[in-house]
């Protein structure tokens, strides 16, 4: 798992991951890239991350992927990420494409639901929490 301040250099990351696995005999490499869309009057999105729980969430996914002979990779941006640049990339390597296609779908969906990352719109330099696009994590409301 890789965390960066500001936008990701997706080409460098995907190229490096590909090189790292060049001798691993995986038959499928499925990358996913998330790009900040221009919407409303936002100039950027901004992210807070709680790394200890993100790491344990990611470690659990590594174990799940390993049971299918696959590996998952991810990188995410912290702080401001301007429109048309990348805030999130992930990938699955696996011996066979079907496993990789199913894993990338489940991995990215669970990432959206349970990775401890908070998103803000940046408008006129001000950070505004994206409350309407955010999802309560599994088990939310325990203390209510």
């Amino acid at each position: 798992m890789e965390l960066y301040q500001g936008p990701l250099d997706a080409k460098e990351i995907f190229g490096r991951w590909l090189d790292e696995q060049s001798g691993s005999n995986y038959g499928a490499y499925i990358p996913f890239i998330g790009i900040i869309r221009e919407e409303g009057s936002i100039e950027a999105l901004s992210f807070d991350i709680y790394e200890p729980i993100l790491q344990s969430w990611f470690d659990a996914w590594q174990e799940r992927a390993a049971r299918e002979g696959a590996i998952v990779k991810m990188a995410h941006a912290m702080g401001d990420v301007p429109i048309h640049t990348s805030s999130y990339v992930s990938a699955v390597f696996s011996p066979r494409r079907r496993v990789a296609l199913e894993l990338i779908d489940a991995f990215v969906e669970d990432f959206k639901a349970n990775a401890p990352i908070w998103k803000y719109d940046v408008i006129n330099g001000e950070r505004i929490y994206a409350a309407d696009r955010s999802t309560p994590m599994d088990g939310a409301g325990l203390l209510a």
Partner: protein, 73 residues
């Protein structure tokens, strides 16, 4: 005392609370009106592990983290 940390957009600094279980901690936190809208939407971690049982025991030095709704990517 238990240290309670509020993450992301909650915008509240850490507090020290006396509680023997998460249920007791819930009662303490509900006294804070500023948290009334957040608590129903927030998940909870104890020493960086997610928890789901209100009867979970707490001991001095434990760290409870309050996690509001997320949106990565």
């Amino acid at each position: 005392m238990i240290r309670v940390e509020f993450l992301g957009p909650i915008g509240k600094g850490p507090v020290e609370v006396k509680a023997n279980t998460l249920a007791e901690l819930s009662e303490r936190l509900k006294e804070d009106k500023a948290l009334a809208d957040w608590l129903p939407k927030c998940a909870v971690a104890l020493n960086d592990a997610m928890v789901s049982d209100l009867q979970t025991h707490l001991k001095t030095g434990d760290r409870v983290t309050i996690l509001p709704p997320v949106c990565g990517g």
